[in-house]
Amino acid sequence: MTEPNEAGVRAQARAWLAEHWDAERSLVAWRGMLADSGWGMPHWPEQWHGRGLAVALSQAVDEEFAQFGAVGVAKMGIRLLAGATLLEHGDDFHKERFLRRILTGEDTWCQLFSEPGSGSDLAGATTRADLDGDNWVVNGQKVWTTSAHHADYGLLLARTDWDAPKHQGLTYFVLNMRQPGVEVRQLRQMNGHASFNEVFLTDAKIERPYRVGAVGQGWRIAMTTLAHERRGADGLRGSARERLGEGRIYAEEAAETATLMEPYKWYPQRAGRVDLVLPRARETGRIADPAVRQAVARLLVLARSAEWTARRARADQELGRPQGPEGSLGKLAASHVARAAAHAHTLIAGADAMLAGDDGPLDGLIAEILVSVPATSIAGGTDEIQRNIIAERVLGLPREPRMDSGPFRDVPRNVGG
């Protein structure tokens, strides 16, 4: 097979869309057609709902979809991480059973990695899975699970060997969330939102075929999931398509998006809402205060530089160059930006910074920023962990001596956690 060229692929996609698109189709039906034709995930293999195209060509197809105004497969949320992981590490049973329903959006997924006792130290998980006849029996507690309360399946990391070193005693499973042994509780945050869940697993059952990869290979597979998450495969950045269309399919997609995005609605506030700083400074007249001007300027220097740093990284990536150090700095930079933004918002708000809800500036949005920003330097890897990663992987500084080698059974860990 010769490598298809971009113009050809774009033309093919347009032609296919012209032939099949109908805005009054049901979302699931349309996505079924995408999954079957391979136009939903063109870079996936032909055997599994794709067309085996290069990633760059797949992006070209996305652009054609966006321009055409056509809805794509379900790309938001954890399900796509599940799809990518199963595509790479699953067997035919997994792919057969899960991939199509992931793409159609019929099943939603959640990720069961973090535990109360293992946050930064994900590999220290103590949720256990023990083989009992044909089933694995799972006991433990997971946390920071987004959308667990309406998920059909969970990507589970559980310990199956307590005598192996900690990274080698973990196994990866697909857990059916709709069973009695799974209890989901909402976890309220300090900003009042409840975006995450705690998941209590009490003798939850997993049939043998739902194990993914070999026993003891869980850590390596979880790393695949996390790598996709870092690359933004959870699709939370949204699509480039401007949703102008009308029709049944758009309404169904909008409803799906609303449900999925619900837990994330405070994320822009968590990031500090830099976009609001200058307008607020102008509207309130506080821009005339030299201390406010300096704080706003400091923030803008930081935020713009961070943005350009991310664009430098992306530009090099698009040019196919090896990644420079810029690529690893985004998360740490974001913490600084968020803190500086919260500081600027506080100075601009003055006494109003004491108010929340309807009484607060911008109907409480400023207050939400102030009480959400502390999450930026924690969620998805604390600043401290980020600095370790940057120092070790980018700068090549030596690792710290490890205190958690040897059988996991003997590694000191949180009591009851």
Binding site: T346, M354, M403
Partner: protein
């Protein structure tokens, strides 16, 4: 200054112990959570004990006015412990702001009439000073006091009034119609439920301290102190309030440090207590430094007020600037060291974080107080 100016006496240390024990009993986080959700924002039973058993409202009030005649240093100790325990109570509004305004602005007769009740805690007052403009200077006052008979008719608004919905009486700062700047300012006193006042609770970022919006539609008030002579006493009362607030804040900051250190010793990751990692260790060391520096500033400011030092306003601003950054920094670091759990509602850290954030703005932020301090020093 003698060395003793930099240490507490044995009596003061005992007083702190008593206060800490009492507040630890009556204001555990469960109680804070209960009362911060209430409309009034405080437990009347605790208030009674605070006032009667401990005489907290009377600490720095001269004995002639029913007080205990201790100094501002003892007041600072009490506030520090309240800040540490995050006590929900209308103490700062009544015992600090209103009491200060009366002490510095009231006539002898007015002090005799008003202070004993406040000192006994049987009545509570607040100072209505700030307005929707959000300024903390005396110049920003726009509420008008039109002379009527021997009193005033008040028209306008007050905002960010501490415990404004529950205060028995209100001391409002108002200006003569047509006056500007520091001129024409008077203290006016009126019952909290006077006709012509509309009191509305404000939703506050820090639910442990209640704020109100007051609208005055021709409400009648009596004069307090010299008519149109409120600027100077008010500035003094505000400077002292800043010193007081700094002491309250360092108590909260210390609590955050203690909590962070305790957790760092407990929490294991990577087979080690997280407190054995330099990242956490050094963060805690930096917190300690910030908190101790802020304490030194707060103590010095309280001592300066107690000694009627001419530097007191500059030192109060210095202390408020220091405390604002130290408290917020300590609360943020405490969340960070707790990791994800520190961001949950269930964990108590956010209660202090929110108090830190709101206290940063209350009476003016650090940049404002640095500027004030520089004016005093020039």
């Amino acid at each position: 200054m003698p060395a003793t100016a930099f240490s507490f006496t044995d009596e003061q240390r005992q007083f702190r112990d008593v206060a800490r024990r009492f507040l630890g009993d009556v204001s555990p986080p469960t109680a804070v959570r209960e009362w911060m959700e209430s409309a009034s924002g405080f437990d009347p039973a605790v208030w009674d004990r605070l006032a009667k058993e401990l005489g907290f409202c009377a600490i720095h009030v001269p004995e002639a006015y029913g007080g205990q005649g201790f100094s501002f240093v003892e007041l600072g100790i009490a506030l520090e412990e309240m800040g540490r325990a995050l006590l929900c109570a209308p103490y700062f509004s009544s015992a600090v702001l209103a009491t200060g305004a009366i002490q510095h602005g009231g006539s002898e007769a007015e002090k005799m009439a008003l202070l004993p009740d406040l000192a006994a805690g049987t009545r509570r007052a607040t100072l209505a000073f700030t307005e929707p403009s959000g300024g903390w200077d005396v110049e920003q006052v726009a509420l008008t006091a039109t002379p009527v008979g021997g009193g005033y008719r008040l028209d306008g608004e007050k905002r960010f009034v501490l415990d404004g919905c529950t205060a028995d009486f209100i001391i409002a700062v108002a200006r003569a119609p047509g006056s500007r700047g520091a001129d024409g300012l008077s203290l006016c006193i009126l019952p909290g439920d006077a006709k012509g006042i509309e009191r509305r609770p404000l939703r506050s970022l820090d639910p442990t301290r209640k704020l109100a919006h007051l609208t005055f539609h021709g409400a009648r008030a009596a004069p307090l102190g010299e008519p149109e002579g409120a600027a100077a006493p008010l500035k003094r009362a505000l400077a002292e309030a800043a010193a007081a607030l700094a002491n309250e804040m360092v108590g909260g900051a210390q609590r955050m440090l203690d909590s962070a250190v305790d957790y760092a010793k407990l929490r294991m990751q990577f087979g080690r207590q997280i407190g054995s990692f330099q990242a956490i260790k050094h963060k805690c060391a930096d917190m300690l430094l910030e908190v101790e520096l802020a304490k030194s500033a707060a103590y010095r400011a309280a001592a300066a007020v107690a000694e009627d030092d001419t530097d007191a306003p500059a030192l109060a601003s210095l202390a408020k600037a220091s405390a604002s950054e130290a408290y917020l920094g300590a609360a943020a670091a405490c969340i960070q060291i707790h990791g994800g759990i520190g961001f949950t509602w269930e964990n108590d850290t956010h209660l202090w974080f929110k108090r830190a954030k709101a206290s940063e703005a209350l009476l003016g932020d650090a940049a404002y107080h640095r500027e004030l301090m520089m004016r005093h020093m020039q």
